[in-house]
């Protein structure tokens, strides 16, 4: 059974339709890449799946591990194991990075009937996971994302994912704003977290990221729909031809593309 199953999903912001019928199946252990030009609705899809309240779902359904995902508020989705790696991680002044993460982890552990981790055990876990993305501990004690560089923010997202061990990771443009070294570090962290149980949806504008995180499936979004799906060779094709030809094809034959 698919871990995530999205059927005919429509969503809007205000009175503007953004998603116009998305179908997507992600099985456990699979990594799916979603590519597409700016404004195609990639980030909206991630936001809708994570429960951002700015979006209104007008049609369609989403099941996650057999549950109706759309009926749950954002925090319940997180507790169920949905993780969103933010394109623009948010700063929270005065709240320590580790304090924040421990609060989150313990909320998740409580909801699964596990004992909370005390500060010492947590610190040990955090130290170990931080190595994945080469974060040093001094940096972990600063306020959440405050004064972090773009690269540090993205590494921090992957670090949080490593600690929270989600069932499904939605990574929204995790590569944007990274230089090549930071990109390698972040991709290395993501790869280390691939597992048989975990599904991943990697949203990116550039195929470059997919040289490091090799996807099982690639989907191309345009104007609120998935217009092409294929193996990783599709990403390479896109790299060669750009997105221009897709717009035309999508305008002519949206129905076939959605099959």
């Amino acid at each position: 059974m698919a871990l995530l199953s999205v059927r005919n999903l429509h969503a809007r912001v205000g009175d503007k339709d953004i998603l116009k019928g998305i179908d997507l199946e992600v099985g456990p252990g699979e990594v799916h890449a979603i590519m597409g030009p700016n404004g195609s609705g990639k980030s909206t899809l991630a936001g809708v799946l994570a429960g951002r309240e700015a979006y209104t779902v007008t049609q369609g359904e989403v099941s996650f591990d057999g549950q109706d995902l759309l009926s749950l508020p954002a925090e319940k989705r997180a507790l169920a194991g949905v993780f969103l790696g933010f394109q623009y991680p948010v700063e929270i002044p005065g709240v320590g990075n580790l304090h924040f993460l421990r609060t989150a982890l313990n909320a998740q552990r409580r909801s699964r009937g596990l004992e909370e981790l005390d500060a010492m055990d947590f610190l040990q876990l955090a130290r170990e996971k931080a190595k994945l993305v080469q974060l040093d501990t001094a940096f972990m004690n600063r306020s959440v994302n405050e004064g972090f560089s773009g690269g540090e923010k993205k590494r921090n997202e992957i670090f949080q994912m490593a600690v929270l061990q989600p069932r499904l990771a939605l990574l929204d443009e995790t590569d944007s704003g990274l230089d090549i070294d930071a990109l390698r570090i972040v991709a290395g962290g993501v790869n280390a977290l691939r597992s048989k149980e975990r599904g991943m949806v990697v949203i990116t504008h550039y195929q470059r990221l997919l040289d490091y995180i090799v996807p099982d499936r690639v989907h191309v979004m345009a104007a609120g729909r998935i217009v092409r799906s294929g193996g990783r060779e599709l990403a390479l094709e896109l790299e060669e031809k750009g997105y221009g030809w897709l717009g035309l094809e999508q305008a002519k034959a949206p129905k076939e593309a959605r099959s």
């Binding site: 309240e53 925090e75 929270i92 005065g94 929270l164």
Partner: protein, 478 residues
């Protein structure tokens, strides 16, 4: 987020709102010279004090209630208030065994055990119940260090020379309407004297509790740190939930002689009234310290209670190199109104002051920062840094910042920074996406906002303050 969650959560209870049933010795409501004489007689006061009270009263009669503050309330009927209420007990309490067990239980329920074996480590407590001090802990230990820490009434009996010398020396009876009223009718409070060169071996704390109905609480705190002495002092306040407003008009005077260091922290949780604004304490308080040469006075306050808060803990930086600090968190939820801030008056050379004010408004709360930085001609090279941040939760509350700056010496440096922000949907979503509930997320973000102030509190109370803020805010985001 939905308005339902908001409304449901803002209906949270006020856990300190219970009433204790004790027999009380009270004076009938109303105020005239006779009431003051009776009050003074009941307390067996020396004549200098009665004279001072009468002088204050006569001056008060000539004064008008201030109207400049940004708060609204129905007129206070000063003749409807009871100016004295004391729990009945044996005339002199040799030990805690003689304190009414009901009262001990009250403090226990509030989390302030007065039995020494259960006491907070290293904190001496003076418990003021309605108009009188009912118990002071750790007195012997303090006495050995030379520190006098007792109720104001006892200080009047046992150290009249100290009281006569310092009473009114920082806040004269004519200072303002509420200070004059307090000077006329104050019933009790805490007194502390730390002798020359002594570092007080423990935290001192006064815990104020208003219990009786229709009673005003007018306590007076006088704290003197002699040359080179150091003391850290904390006050906490709660009151039962009642539909009518109760007046609390206190005066706190701090004297820091040359090289002395006073840290004064307040966690104020008077009953704030209900969600519609019924009931709650009217808190009109005058707090001021005078810092002599090389002395330092630091005020830290966390204000979450009261229907109305009107207070401006101030420092007169009289001596050269004196330092004044004011760290404040003021929260207004529901219909609460706060007009609070500080005054830093630079007189001595090279005096320094720091003001960090964090205002949080939720519900229909209105929060005003009002602060004065005054640099006199004599204050060569004075420096001030002011930072005022406001956080709005919801769209029906208000935050206002009114800084007054008067500089008469060109060598001084005065800096003012202010910011107003709304708690961000993005911040909340970020927390919730990690599995943190809405309420915990709000409390976490607000605590982060206040961290600069909380880190100034003694450790035991920083934790309390964080919890208090969390409770006072539950679900108040709209």
């Amino acid at each position: 987020m939905s308005t339902d969650t908001l409304q449901e959560l803002t209906r949270k209870g006020y856990s300190a709102g219970f009433v204790t049933d004790v027999e009380a010795d009270t004076l009938p409501p109303g105020l005239d010279e006779d009431v003051i004489r009776q009050l003074s007689r009941k307390k067996g006061e020396p004549s200098f004090l009665l004279e001072w009270r009468l002088k204050s009263y006569r001056h008060w009669l000539t004064m008008k209630e201030p109207r400049w503050q940004a708060v609204r309330y129905a007129p206070i009927d000063y003749q409807a208030i009871r100016y004295y209420s004391a729990p009945k007990q044996k005339p002199k309490k040799g030990s805690l065994d003689e304190v009414d067990p009901e009262i001990l239980r009250t403090y226990e329920k509030l989390g302030i055990p007065l039995h020494e074996q259960k006491l907070l480590q290293n904190v001496a407590v003076d418990a003021v119940f309605d108009s009188v001090s009912v118990a002071t802990t750790f007195r012997d230990k303090l006495y050995k260090a030379g520190v006098i820490f007792c109720s104001f009434s006892e200080a009047v009996r046992e150290h009249p020379e100290l009281v006569e010398r310092y009473l009114g020396s920082v806040v004269p009876y004519s200072d303002n309407f509420f200070a004059a009223l307090n000077s006329a009718v104050f019933s009790d409070g805490s007194f502390c004297y730390v002798p020359k060169g002594v570092r007080c071996p423990m935290e001192l704390s006064t815990y104020f509790r208003i219990n009786a109905a229709d009673t005003g609480q007018f306590e007076r705190t006088l704290l003197v740190a002699d040359e080179g002495a150091t003391v850290s002092y904390l006050e906490g306040c709660t009151a039962p939930m009642r539909d009518t407003n109760q007046l609390h008009a206190a005066v706190v005077e701090l004297v820091a002689l040359d090289g002395a260091n006073i840290k004064y922290s307040t966690v104020q949780n008077w009953y704030p009234g209900d969600a519609e604004g019924r009931g709650g304490i009217f808190n009109f308080v005058t707090k001021r310290g005078i810092a002599h040469r090389d002395a330092k006075i630091s005020w830290t306050q966390v204000e979450t209670g009261s229907a109305i808060t009107w207070k401006y803990p101030s420092v007169i930086l009289k001596g050269d190199n004196a330092v004044g600090e004011f760290y404040s968190v003021a929260l207004t939820n529901h219909r609460q109104q706060a007009d609070t801030g500080t005054k830093m008056v630079h007189i001595g050379k090279n005096t320094r002051s720091t003001i960090v004010s964090k205002g949080i408004s939720a519900g229909h709360g209105q929060n005003t920062y009002r602060g004065l930085v005054k640099v006199l001609k004599s204050a060569q090279d004075a420096r001030n840094y002011t930072q005022c941040d406001s956080l709005l939760l919801g769209d029906k509350c208000g935050a206002h910042t009114l800084p007054y700056i008067e500089v008469k010496n060109a060598s001084s440096q005065v800096e003012h920074e202010a910011s107003t922000s709304k708690i961000g949907e993005d911040q909340l979503f970020y927390c919730r996406q990690r599995g943190i509930s809405q309420e915990d997320a709000v409390s976490m973000i607000v605590n982060g906002f206040c961290r600069q102030v909380f880190k100034e509190l003694p450790m035991e109370f920083a934790v309390e303050a964080q919890k208090l803020l969390g409770v006072s805010l539950e679900g108040s985001v709209g």
